[in-house]
Symmetry: C2
Subunit: 359 residues, 2 copies
C-alpha cells in the first residue's frame, strides 16, 4: 500500500508532519512518498498541481493532504492559484464523495458559539458531492449578454448540472453511511436541495427519492438549502446524515463545522468509486499562524485515521488513533485554537508527541 | 399613494391583518387594496399570481406581503406552486435589491442559539441581489448529457449569470446603505463571492471592486461564501453590510436571521429602481400554526415601517412604529415564538393591539 503525502502551504507542512509521525509509530506496512502541491508546487514547478504530483496521487491508495493557499497568490491567474490543485485532484481522481463529520467533543463544548445544550453530543455527517454541480459544469466564461435584464452588456456565467448516475451514486453513499452509523439498519438522511427554484435540484430530489426505495429502513427527508442553513443553527442535533450537491455542501459543511467551535479537530475524506481517497483537515492553510508551531494537528491526525479505515483496510489502527486523540484531550492538552482556562497550552509538535505517547 | 395588500397563505392573513390595523391607526392618506396571492390565489383563480394581483402590485407604490406556501401544494406543477408568486413579483416589478436586516433585540438575546456575548447588540444588514443569478438564468431544463462524467445520461441544468450593470446597481445600493448606517460617511461592506471557483463571482468581485472607487470612505472586503457561512456563526458582529448574489444571499440571510433567535421579529424590503417596494416578514407561512392566532405579527408590522420609510416617504411614521414595537417588547408582551419565563404570552391579535395602544 502506498500513501502520497502532500503537505501543501501554510500550516499544512507542520500538521502533516505530526500526522506522519503518528502513522510511523503504528508500524504498519505501507510506503509514504511526499510531493509538493498548491503554492509550494507553484514556486518549485510553476504549477499548483504538477504532473509528477498528480501521477503520485493517482498511483497511491490514499493521499494525505495538508492545506493550500496564501494571500500572496491572490493575484495569480486563476488556473495557477493553489486551490486549483485541490479541484484538479478531485477531478482527476474522481473523488465524488466527500465525508465531512461535524462532531462536538465533550471537552470542547465550551469552544462553540452555540449554547452548550444545543451542541453537546453533536455527531452529524455531511456528505457532499464533489465532482459535479456548478464547480465543473461547462460552458462557463464571459460574453456579451443577448437577453436578460441588460442585453448587450458584458456578463459572466457558469453552468450548474447533475446527471442521474452522478446523483444516484452519491445517494447510495449517503443511505449506506446512515445505515452504518445506525449499526447496520436505520438512520436518517436529509437531502438538501433548492427544488423550488432550480431544475437541477428538482431532478436531484426526484433521483434521491427513487434511490431511497432500495433503503426502506433508512428515513429520508428533504429540506431547502436556506432552511438547512437555519436548522443547523437552531437545532443541529436533529440531523443525522445530510447529503447535498457540491455548492450547497461547500457552504453547509463549513457552517456545520464552525458550529462545533473546534474546526481544528475535524477531519474529512474524499473517496472515489474504488475507495481511493484524499484525506485532509476541514480547516484551511491559516497563513496568519503558519511557521509559528501553534497549529492544531489533530484534524490531520484524525484524517489519517479515516484514511486507515476507508482506504487502507486498517480499522483497528484507525480506532487506536481516535482513542489516543480522545485520551490526549482528556489529559488536558490543547493547542491555542481550543485552549480554555484550566487546560494546558501546547504547540503542534507537543500535541503530536502527546498522541504518539498515548498510542 | 396606494398600497397593495397581499396576505397570502398560512399565517400570512393573520399577521398582515395586524399590520393593516397598525397602518390604519396612523391615519395617513393612502389607499389600501387587497388581493389574493400564492396558494390562496391558486384556489380562487387557478394561478398563484393572477393577472389582477400582478396589475394591482404594479400600479401600487408599495406591496405589503404576508407569506405563501403550504405542504398541500407540494404536488402541483412548479409553475403553479405558491412560491412562484413571489418569484414572479420580483421579476415583473424588477425588485432587484433585497434588504434583510439581522438585528438582535436586547430583550430577546436569550432566544438565540448563540451565546449572549456573541449576539447581544447585533445589527447587520444583508443586501441580496434579487432578480439575477441562477434564479432566473436561462437556459435551464432537462436533457441528455453530451459530455461530463456520464455522456448519454439524463441530466438537469441551470445557468448562473450576472451582467456588469446588474452588479453595479446592487453594489451602489450596498455602499450607500453602509454610508447611511454610518451616519453619512464610512461603514463597511463585505462582498461575498466564490471567485475561486465561479466565473460569475470572479466577475462580481471585479465589478464590486470597481464601483468601490466611488466610495472611498466606505471600507470593502471580500469573503468566500463558505467562509461567510462560518464567520456568521463565529463572530456575526464583525459584519456591517453584506452584499451578495441571489443564491448565496438566500442562504446567508436565512442563516443570519436564525442566529438572532427571533426570526419572527425580522422585516425585509425588496426595492426596484423607482423605490417601489415589496415588504414582507423574513419568516415563512408556517402552516403548522396557521389559524391558531399564535403567530408573531411584529416582523410584518416592522415591514410596514420599512415600507413607510423606503417607498412612502413617511420616515416619522416609520420611527413611530419602530418605537412602539420596542416599547411593547419592553412591557413584556411576547408571542409564543419569543416567549420566555417571566414574560406575558399573547396571541397575534393582542400583540397587534398592544402596538396600537403604544402608538
Ligand atoms: C478551495 C475551494 C476550491 C474548496 C471548495 O470550494 O471546494 C474549499 O472551500 C473546500 O471546501 O474544500
Ligand atoms: C420561496 C423561495 C423561492 C424564496 C427564495 O429562494 O428566494 C425564499 O426562500 C426567500 O428567500 O424569499
Amino acid at each position: 500500500m502506498k500513501i502520497a503525502i502532500l503537505p501543501g502551504d501554510g500550516i499544512g507542512t507542520e500538521i502533516v508532519a505530526e500526522a506522519v509521525k503518528v502513522l510511523k509509530v503504528l508500524d504498519l506496512s505501507f510506503e509514504m512518498e511526499e510531493a509538493k502541491v498548491g503554492g509550494a508546487a507553484y514556486e518549485a514547478h510553476g504549477h499548483p498541481l504538477p504532473e509528477s504530483t498528480l501521477k503520485l496521487a493517482q498511483a497511491a491508495d490514499a493521499v494525505l493532504f495538508g492545506a493550500v493557499g496564501d494571500w500572496k497568490y491572490d493575484t495569480l491567474d486563476r488556473p495557477l492559484r493553489p486551490e486549483q490543485a485541490i479541484l484538479g485532484l478531485r477531478k482527476h481522481l474522481g473523488l465524488f464523495a466527500n465525508f465531512r463529520p461535524a462532531i462536538c467533543y465533550e471537552q470542547l463544548v465550551g469552544a462553540s458559539s452555540l449554547k452548550p445544550e444545543l451542541i453537546a453530543g453533536l455527531d452529524i455527517l455531511i456528505i457532499r458531492e464533489l465532482t459535479g454541480d456548478i464547480y465543473f459544469g461547462q460552458p462557463r466564461g464571459r460574453r456579451t449578454a443577448v437577453d436578460g435584464h441588460f442585453p448587450g452588456a458584458e456578463e459572466a456565467f457558469d453552468t450548474m448540472r447533475y446527471s442521474r448516475p452522478e446523483i444516484e451514486r452519491i445517494a447510495h453513499v449517503a443511505f449506506q453511511a446512515a445505515r452504518k452509523r445506525a449499526g447496520g439498519k436505520g438512520g436518517k438522511v436529509t437531502s438538501v436541495d433548492k427544488a423550488n427554484v432550480l431544475e437541477t435540484f428538482q431532478f436531484w430530489k426526484d433521483v434521491v427519492t427513487a434511490v431511497h426505495a432500495e433503503y426502506p429502513d433508512v428515513a429520508l427527508d428533504h429540506m431547502y438549502v436556506d432552511n438547512a442553513a437555519m436548522q443547523l443553527v437552531k437545532a443541529p442535533k436533529n440531523f443525522d446524515v445530510i447529503v447535498t450537491g457540491n455548492m450547497f455542501g461547500d457552504i453547509l459543511s463549513d457552517e456545520a463545522s464552525m458550529l462545533t467551535g473546534s474546526i481544528g479537530m475535524l477531519p474529512s475524506a474524499s473517496l472515489n468509486a474504488k475507495n481511493q481517497g484524499l484525506y485532509e483537515p476541514s480547516h484551511g492553510s491559516a497563513p496568519d499562524i503558519a511557521g509559528k508551531g501553534v497549529a492544531n494537528p489533530l484534524a490531520t491526525i484524525l484524517s489519517a485515521a479515516m484514511m486507515l479505515r476507508f482506504s487502507l483496510q486498517q480499522p483497528e489502527a484507525a480506532d487506536r488513533i481516535e482513542s489516543a486523540v480522545k485520551s490526549v484531550l482528556a489529559s488536558g492538552y490543547r493547542t491555542p485554537d481550543i485552549w480554555s482556562e484550566g487546560t494546558q497550552k501546547v504547540g503542534a509538535r507537543e500535541m503530536g508527541d502527546a498522541v504518539v505517547t498515548a498510542l
